[in-house]
């Protein structure tokens, strides 16, 4: 800070009021940012702290500044110990299940939405606009509104307790279709024509040109859809009744339910699971961040 002030002084010369204002605003900005960061990180730090002390102590004192020695046993219990008699819903298994759900949602939704948008934008379909608006209006109907009929169909098809039943009924995405449609419409017409003359048919054009051009859009959609799938709670709860398909988000709930049974809930373990549940979305965002911003703001053409 001292160095900075010195530099500003040397560079700014006579512009004294401007310099002071700059310094004040810088301090203000940093204060706000630091306060915001603390506010965001605090719950996570509390989770970590609480998973280092025995569960009974949490019941007694709540969150504190004490660091206990229970961190490693809790991590081990969370990852490897099962929560029921079946022995199949360990933390690792639930992590895998959540991963399958998140990836299945993200990949499936992107593939379906891209192909739908491709059909709407590039082919002379009768009622293409009508079809698009029909897809678009489904945005007005969230899953919760149609969950009973959706469940009934899934159940009649015999898809309860299967990955297909978990993923396929929710795979159509109006949001992604809309985004890809807007993007495809901004791709210059001449690119299609050049590809046609170059002998690229519809499939080749899609795979060789449209998909690579959409990679920033795909990254952006991947983040949104992965997090959406990862955080699903209601739908898996309805479709999955067997332990070996339970996801992390469901698992956390199951552990804290111990309270109703009169025992002390395993706070330490569920806190570790909660941290585990936050990690992949954070990593996905960090990894795709660059493309995410690019995909939603600029077009790379």
């Amino acid at each position: 800070m001292a160095d900075m002030t010195h530099d500003t002084l040397a560079a700014a010369g006579p512009a004294r009021p401007a310099r002071r204002r700059l310094r004040l605003s810088t301090i203000g900005d940093h204060a706000i940012l630091i306060a915001g960061a603390l506010l965001m990180v605090a719950p996570l730090l509390m989770l970590v702290q609480m998973s280092t002390v025995p569960d009974a102590e949490i019941m007694r004192t709540g969150p504190s500044l004490a660091i206990g020695d229970r961190l490693w046993p809790n991590v081990r219990a969370a990852l490897t110990e099962s929560m029921s008699f079946s022995g199949r819903n360990t933390g690792l298994a639930m992590f895998r299940n959540s991963m399958i759900l998140g990836l299945g949602f993200a990949v499936g939704k992107i593939v379906v939405a891209m192909m739908a948008a491709y059909a709407i934008v590039y082919f002379r379909l009768r009622f293409a606009t009508l079809a698009f608006w029909a897809i678009f209006t489904t945005l007005l109907l969230p899953l919760e509104v149609r969950i009973v009929p959706s469940y009934e169909i899934t159940q009649r098809l015999g898809l309860l307790n299967t990955w297909t039943g978990l993923i396929v009924p929710l795979i159509a995405s109006a949001t992604a279709t809309f985004f890809f449609r807007q993007f495809f419409m901004s791709v210059p017409e001449e690119l299609v024509e050049a590809a046609r003359i170059d002998g690229a048919g519809p499939v080749k054009f899609f795979v060789d040109i449209l998909v690579p051009l959409s990679r920033t859009m795909i990254a952006a959609m991947f983040i949104i859809m992965f997090v959406y799938g990862w955080n699903q709670y209601l739908w898996p709860t309805m479709i999955v009744t067997e332990d070996d398909r339970i996801t992390l988000v469901q698992g956390i709930k199951q552990i804290t339910q111990g309270l109703e049974g009169g025992q002390i809930p395993e706070y330490g373990r569920s806190n570790i699971l909660a941290i585990l549940a936050v990690l992949p979305p954070v990593l996905v965002v960090l990894f795709f961040q660059r493309w995410f911003v690019k995909g939603l703001t600029e077009t790379d053409k």
Partner: protein, 347 residues
């Protein structure tokens, strides 16, 4: 290589707009034909029909001996260069140029050899592994050319390929494209709205207006013997002076001016008289040219002013002394072009 024949080809858009009236035209084998006209004249539509990117409403299109009305663009044995180049932004220059060959199932070795050849011809060898976005406008233009020549097609189609370049580069690329076409001997159709490009590049020019062919001819024919007032005013910079006048007692007379020359065949009534700015002779004759403005262009000067009460421009070489104000000017009989006052057709 091939000739191209348009037989009463017509384009009507859904909604009833007639973009191209029935047009019959033959492009000879190896010829460089330029379609020129103002925007909306149908020149691009005509080109896109030949490319197969636009359906032909009526008429017959042949490339070589084959009727191609219903043939897919990929199978017409053509290559096209677009106004904004239409390069694939995510592919390297090498892949951009080779993409058409790859889609046609050429072997990797053949693709590499042909891309290399094309790149050498266009001075693109050093840029083969870059992406188009890292290259300048002129270089992108060359890639688009490379993509066209690498397939060795029967026909090149150019859709205003130079209009995104700055003036200097445009002049340079004009020469390059022309030289390349001469060397390869490939039949080419080139669309532009720039009459200078048309004049300098074409073997033959087709001047289009409102979806109709106004005139077909060599650049010299088009320039010296325009078929209509439209061609006269569109081709040439500055354009031909068009003055109103009339047939009167066996002579052609400028409105408010002296007689110019004997009228052919005892006609009478109004007439449009055309004369190229460089065909007038300043400082002699019996017309009075009132010069308002002298435009200095280095090698020559343009004098803008009035002849009688009509706008008039004269073109004089740099050695000629010029001044503003009223001065005598001669309009030589041989340089006059006469047009029907109503239809604009040459008499």
């Amino acid at each position: 290589m091939a000739s191209v024949t348009l037989d009463a080809v017509r384009k009507v858009y859904p909604g009833g707009t007639e973009a191209v009236t029935p047009t019959t035209l033959t492009i000879r084998d190896g010829e460089f034909l330029v379609l020129v006209g103002p925007s909306g004249c149908g020149k691009s539509t005509l080109l896109r029909m030949i490319a197969g990117l636009e359906d032909i409403t009526e008429g017959e299109l042949r490339i070589g001996d084959r009727i191609v009305n219903d043939v897919d663009p990929a199978d017409r044995d053509i290559a096209m260069v677009f106004q904004n180049y239409a390069l694939y932004p995510h592919m390297t220059v090498r892949r951009n140029i080779g993409y058409g060959l790859r889609n046609r199932g050429a072997s990797a070795g053949e693709i590499a050899r042909k891309v290399d050849e094309a790149a050498a011809m266009l001075n693109l060898r050093d840029y083969l592994d870059r992406k188009p976005s890292q290259l300048s406008g002129g270089q992108r233009q060359r890639i688009a050319m490379g993509r066209a020549i690498v397939r060795d097609p029967a026909l090149f189609l150019f859709d205003e390929p130079l209009s995104n370049l700055d003036a200097k580069l445009r002049g340079q690329m004009r020469i390059e494209i022309r030289a390349l076409q001469r060397r390869l001997g490939t039949t080419s159709i080139y669309v532009t709205h720039d009459q200078v490009e048309a004049m300098t590049m074409a073997d033959r020019i087709v001047v289009l207006n409102g979806g109709r062919v106004e005139q077909v001819g060599t650049p010299a024919e088009i320039y010296h013997a325009p078929a209509s007032t439209f061609v006269a005013s569109f081709m040439g910079a500055p354009p031909m002076n068009l003055l109103t006048g009339r047939f009167e007692s066996g002579a052609i007379r400028l409105d408010h001016g002296p007689a110019l020359r004997a009228a052919p065949g005892g006609r009478s009534g109004p007439i449009t008289i055309g004369i190229r700015p460089e065909d007038v002779r300043l400082g002699e004759g019996d017309h009075v040219f009132d010069v308002d403005l002298v435009e200095e262009l280095g090698a020559h000067r343009l004098l803008h002013g009035r002849l009688g009460d009509q706008h008039f421009t004269a073109h004089v070489l740099k050695d000629m002394p010029v001044r503003e104000g009223r001065q005598p000017i001669a309009l030589p009989d041989a340089a006059l072009a006469l047009f029907d006052a109503q239809s604009g057709q040459r008499l």
